[in-house]
């Protein structure tokens, strides 16, 4: 195979070491450390403007880091040109070649690498993404969803070591997006390549990825398996960006065995030490809405309960969401699954008790501003 001089055959995990990117005096990506295991489906999740695209572009070589290193396996690729890297990108805007047919678009990469079977490979890959019947058309004659598939095929056909997807489903309507999420996951399993999927949709990240990294202001706030991220967020931003949380600012006052006792707006609450990401002074206490129960009578037991007033009831079919105003003025949200034959018939204005198992509670360092920003970004 006649390849570009300088092409780096590299295999292994993708590693970013202390990667920083500044534009003027603005830092878009701030001292990022990241390891993406080979063959994994990795999601980079964050609100718009947090530096996701910039991170991808540094991996692709379309942007050079101000500081730090990018490696694939043991091969450093920092400083090399995009065409020298075993990395391909599915661009947010698809960026198909408007003057080429779909088949030639997909065959473009293999042809540049001197592959004699470029066209056959292109047809094969178009079949994999189920648009082989459109091979002779031009990009302008395709719908958004079809263009998305072609963009994926054009990158996939090269079997890159790392495939970068920049909000690939962002421009599609909800139904098509869900359908393509499933398909993208199937294709990744089938080809076994490393996928880095950038999105601002937490549901998309959670359903598709093996590992999710939550990014904010050019930094990674938390990284892990979707279920772990959801179960135990480590910052107030993650608590509200990955799902919703009921959060309250309070003070750590005591220890009780392997639990922490905090006073939150006049109520004493317990948090297992293992779930406390902040253990001193001012902290934010949180419980996920579906872990909170709404009761007509005071519960008997641990004392993790508060009296409040129902503010709003919204029935969503599977569940009902209650907004409850607590004496301190904070509003908590509680999801009750509609399991019972006799649903608790609550109306705005009714007095209720809300209760939770303290094993579901967590604390994070107090940062109301970020919690607020995350809530707004997902609204």
């Amino acid at each position: 195979m006649a390849r570009n001089s300088g092409f780096r055959e590299a295999t292994g995990d993708l590693r970013l070491e202390s990667v920083t990117k500044s534009f003027g005096d603005f830092t878009a990506v701030d001292d990022l450390d990241l390891v993406v295991p080979r063959g994994s489906f990795f999601a980079l999740l964050g609100p718009s403007g947090c530096g996701k695209t910039t991170t991808l572009r540094m991996v692709a070589g379309l942007e050079q880091p101000t500081a730090g290193k990018v490696l694939i396996g043991d091969t450093e690729i920092t400083g090399s040109r995009p065409y020298e890297r075993p990395v391909n990108t599915v661009f947010q805007s698809y960026a198909l070649f408007p003057h080429l047919t779909i088949r030639d678009n997909v065959a473009f990469g293999p042809k540049r690498r001197g592959d004699k079977n470029a066209l056959a490979l292109a047809d094969e890959t178009l079949a994999l993404v189920q648009v082989d019947h459109l091979a002779a058309r031009k990009p302008a004659q395709l719908s958004g969803g079809q263009q998305q598939r072609v963009a994926l095929a054009r990158a996939l056909v090269n079997r890159p070591e790392v495939l970068l997807l920049d909000e690939p489903l962002g421009a599609l309507d909800l139904k098509l997006r869900r359908q393509l999420q499933v398909e993208l996951k199937r294709i990744q399993t089938e080809v076994g390549l490393t996928f880095i999927h950038v999105t601002h949709d937490q549901e998309e990240a959670m359903t598709m990825a093996d590992t999710v990294a939550v990014m904010n202001h050019g930094r990674i706030e938390q990284m892990g398996h979707p279920a772990d991220l959801y179960d135990l967020p480590r910052t107030s931003f993650v608590a509200n960006f990955v799902g919703r949380s009921n959060l309250g600012t309070g003070r750590v006052v005591d220890r009780d065995g392997d639990s922490l006792v905090a006073e939150v707006q006049g109520t004493k609450v317990k948090v297992p030490l293992a779930r406390a990401n902040a253990t001193d002074g001012t902290v934010m206490f949180g419980v996920r809405p579906e872990k909170v129960r709404v009761l007509r009578r005071p519960p008997e037991g641990t004392g993790d309960d508060v009296k409040g007033t129902v503010l709003d009831v919204s029935f969503t079919g599977v569940a009902t969401e209650y907004l409850v105003r607590l004496p301190s003025g904070t509003i908590w949200s509680c999801y009750e699954q509609n399991l019972d034959v006799d649903p608790i018939d609550l109306r705005p204005g009714d007095d209720v008790w809300i209760a939770w198992n303290h094993a579901h509670a967590f604390t994070v360092p107090a940062d109301e501003a970020e919690a607020q920003a995350a809530a707004e970004a997902t609204a």
């Binding site: 995009p82 065409y83 960026a95 003057h99 540049r112 395709l142 090269n158």
Partner: protein, 304 residues
Amino acid sequence: MSALAHAGPAGGAPAGDTPPQERQGRSWLPYLLLVPGALWLLVFFVVPLVQLFSVSLQSQFPGYPGYYYRDVNFSNYLSALTDFAPQFGRSLLFAGLATFFAFCLAYPLAYAMAFKAGRWRNIMLIAVIAPFFTSFILRTVAWRQILADEGPVASTLNALHLLPGGHITETWAAVVAGLTYNFLPFMVLPIYASLERADHRVIEAGGDLYANGFTTFRTVTLPMSMPGVLAGTLLTFIPAAGDYVNADLLGADNTKMVGNVIESQFFKVLGGFPVAAALSFTLMALILAMVFVYVRRFGTEELV
């Protein structure tokens, strides 16, 4: 990529919810808007064209030079083609050369303006357009001075013994240079517009898919700018082929183009009207045929 906006069923808004009355009421409006333009074309283009064609077929009253009668006399065309074949050849050759040189100068300039100029872009754009603020004739006269024997260019070349004939003016080179200069903006602007419109992500995609800088240019950037190149070459070639000012002011007798012949037949030769009209028509037909072939070749097919 404006194509994305009307890309098809996936993102399309539901059609057909406009009340039908409104549709009907609107349908004649576009035609109404066409009327002034159509009238203009009819009065100032179609009518003179028919008139010119009828003149090209007239015959001369024997013994009364300068008087004609209506006729269907194709001998005017025969004399146009046989007597003035060299001038036709020169017109096409000079226009072709000027188009080629203008392309070679314009493409790098347009490329630099679109991709590299940064905040200088608008200044460069103004510099390209600025010559239009003075008259075409004046600028060509200025070139005669620049290229004159005592002028800086010719005297330097002469001093270095690099100018075989001794002068630049009154040669075909001066005519081609003048044509190139005068029509350069018509080449730069469409190419610039098409490069400027090109999606930078698409060009980046070339690099991402293993094409180095030059290959990306050849396989992505250049094909994407072909509509601009096509428009630019037509806007340069067509007026250059009919031009007579450059050959008149910068050339000599042996560099005369069809435009010069038409001019002298119309204004200087008694009884030259029918031949001049036939020359004009032949030039028009030739250019139309060439443009047709050219557009068929490059307008629909992309260079890969």
